[in-house]
């Protein structure tokens, strides 16, 4: 159980990026957070991951307060952020160096298969495509067997086909690991295809505007028509959130 209790984050510059954000996330649930640019989505994930301290409020996992990066929570950034001097294999085992070599090897092989990159072990990051690099980043997080996986627009830099395939990968991983997933996106299709619950955010200050539960089974490839009403609700909420933008810095993408 992941609980966000009236989370607020005001940056030293005075920007109120997050204000009174409340959310209870069940184990194994997939939550998509959607909203215009600058409404505090990345801030939300950074606070949950413990990278950024909350100004007010708490993040709790199994009742325990998170104040610094936590072993059960992992964050995947928008860019792969692989360490350029390590091979794919070394990048993936980056977070499990405390395990013995055999266990490391076993786990790395396991996640390499999950993201379908067998045979790429000895490549350097500069020898990977964007989609492959992002898969390595996902594998690097998965290999620590986190209970909570936070993803900050992980596929937004990729073309539609790669994005679709990585979304399927993510669902596949979710089924195998039963991880709790919070994925930030500004793509309505992506939110509707993946999430049990979609949280629409509004800006200035960043907080929750609306929560939309999608009670359709995953994966939803065959359910295009059933998804339409949900997408429409998300779109309407997003348009409402626009009204809160103070100026031109918020755009729907």
């Amino acid at each position: 159980m992941l609980s966000l209790l009236s989370l607020s984050k005001t940056y030293p510059s005075g920007v109120e990026a997050l204000s009174n954000f409340d959310l209870e996330i069940r184990p194994g649930e997939i939550v998509a957070v959607i909203g215009g640019s600058g409404c505090g989505k990345s801030t939300l994930l950074r606070v949950i991951s413990g990278l950024e301290p909350a100004t007010l409020g708490q993040v709790r996992i199994h009742g325990e307060e998170v104040t610094a990066p936590h072993p059960l929570i992992n964050l995947i950034f928008q860019e792969p952020r692989l360490l350029p001097w390590l091979t794919v294999e070394q990048n993936i085992s980056f977070g499990i160096r405390h395990l013995d070599a055999r266990e490391q090897g076993r786990r790395v092989r396991g996640v390499l298969q999950q993201v379908q990159l067998q045979g790429y072990e000895t490549r350097l990051p500069k020898e990977l495509s964007g989609g492959q690099a992002q898969r390595v980043a996902i594998a690097r997080a998965l290999v620590t067997q986190p209970e909570v996986l936070l993803l900050d627009e992980p596929f937004s830099a990729l073309d539609a086909m790669t994005r679709g395939s990585l979304q399927r990968h993510l669902l596949h991983i979710w089924r195998e690991t039963a991880a709790t997933i919070v994925i930030v996106t500004h793509d309505i299709e992506e939110a509707a295809a993946l999430a049990h619950r979609v949280v629409v955010m509004r800006p200035s200050p960043g907080t929750m505007l609306e929560e939309i539960t999608i009670d359709l089974p995953l994966p939803r490839n065959e359910l295009e028509a059933d998804l339409d009403p949900f997408k429409k609700r998300i779109r309407t909420a997003l348009h409402r959130s626009l009204a809160y933008a103070d100026g031109t810095d918020l755009m729907l993408v």
């Binding site: 991951s49 990278l51 610094a68 990066p69 072993p71 992992n74 964050l75 950034f77 860019e79 952020r81 360490l83 350029p84 001097w85 390590l86 980056f94 977070g95 067998q118 045979g119 350097l124 990051p125 500069k126 620590t144």
Partner: protein
């Protein structure tokens, strides 16, 4: 793994054609690099041999080589060479170690940077040669003052390179370390150190270059051995061929030591995604 991957892998393993091409490109690089000095020497030799130039103050290559040969025959050359190399080596080692440690401390700890960096920058602004009289008073005329001067020359570029590159390590990869909960020491060893390695190599090369520069200054201030002594000796006894011979040895030593440093550190920075590497 696809078939294309496999075949490129095979080629890499066997060395194959690409290995041959690599050796040829290194060789041709050497040839191209030699064009200018060799043709310069040849032209000068011709001018002197044919009587167009006297070659008294700028001796032709034949005289330089014979001067070198004579110095070698008497065992003087290797004696002076070893003396100079030892000075540069010990000064470089001391300066580099100090630069890495102080640069690391100031780059990593903000309070240390605020405390130490302004003073060190002020010291850096002093032309290092200005220290010579003081070093002689402190450490005497022999090895210690010479090695200290070289170490000071090497210290500053290394200090600056390490400190500045540490401060500018990308926050994004540091955050990766934080997400995986690295301790302070692990953060240094697994993220910060590899990230600054390329900058460290560059600053070591700069430092080494300065080391060769300062060894001459050090040997000018009174030495009974070393290549710098050969220069002074050549000037006092009016032997331009000995001077140019010593200069030539400096050029070769400087280039060789720099090449060695690059060669030794190349595997450490091979991961870099350089555009020059792509063009090859």
């Amino acid at each position: 793994m696809t078939a294309a991957d496999l075949s490129s892998e095979k080629q890499r393993l066997s060395g194959g054609k690409s290995g041959y091409r690599l050796r040829w490109s290194a060789f041709s690089g050497l040839l191209i690099a030699l064009v200018l000095p060799v043709s310069g020497f040849a032209v000068w030799q011709l001018l002197v041999s044919s009587g167009f130039a006297s070659g008294r103050l700028v001796p032709p290559p034949s005289r330089i080589l014979s001067a070198l040969w004579q110095l070698q025959q008497t065992g003087e050359l290797s004696h002076h060479l070893v003396a100079t190399c030892l000075r540069v080596l010990s000064g470089f080692a001391a300066g580099a170690v100090a630069g890495i440690i102080l640069g690391g401390v100031t780059g990593y700890f903000r309070p240390a940077r605020r405390l130490l960096d302004p003073t060190l920058q002020a010291l850096r602004a002093i032309p290092s040669i200005a220290w010579v009289p003081l070093f002689i008073l402190w450490f005497g005329i022999f090895e210690t003052s010479k090695v200290t001067l070289i170490a000071v020359g090497v210290f500053f570029p290394v200090y600056l390179g390490v400190s500045a590159s540490l401060v500018s390590v990308d926050r994004k990869i540091v955050e990766v370390g934080r997400i995986f909960r690295l301790s302070g020491f692990e953060m240094v060893r697994r993220i910060l150190f590899p990230a600054i390695l390329p900058a460290l190599v560059v600053s070591l090369r700069t430092g080494l270059g300065l080391g060769w520069m300062f060894v001459v200054a050090a040997e000018f201030m009174g030495a009974s051995e070393g290549l710098g002594y050969l220069l002074v000796d050549g000037q006092q006894l009016g032997k331009p061929d000995q001077i140019v011979a010593a200069i030539l040895v400096f050029a070769i030593l400087g280039k060789l030591s720099d090449g060695l440093l690059v060669l030794l550190t190349a595997p450490l920075t091979a991961w870099q995604d350089n555009y020059q590497k792509e063009r090859k």
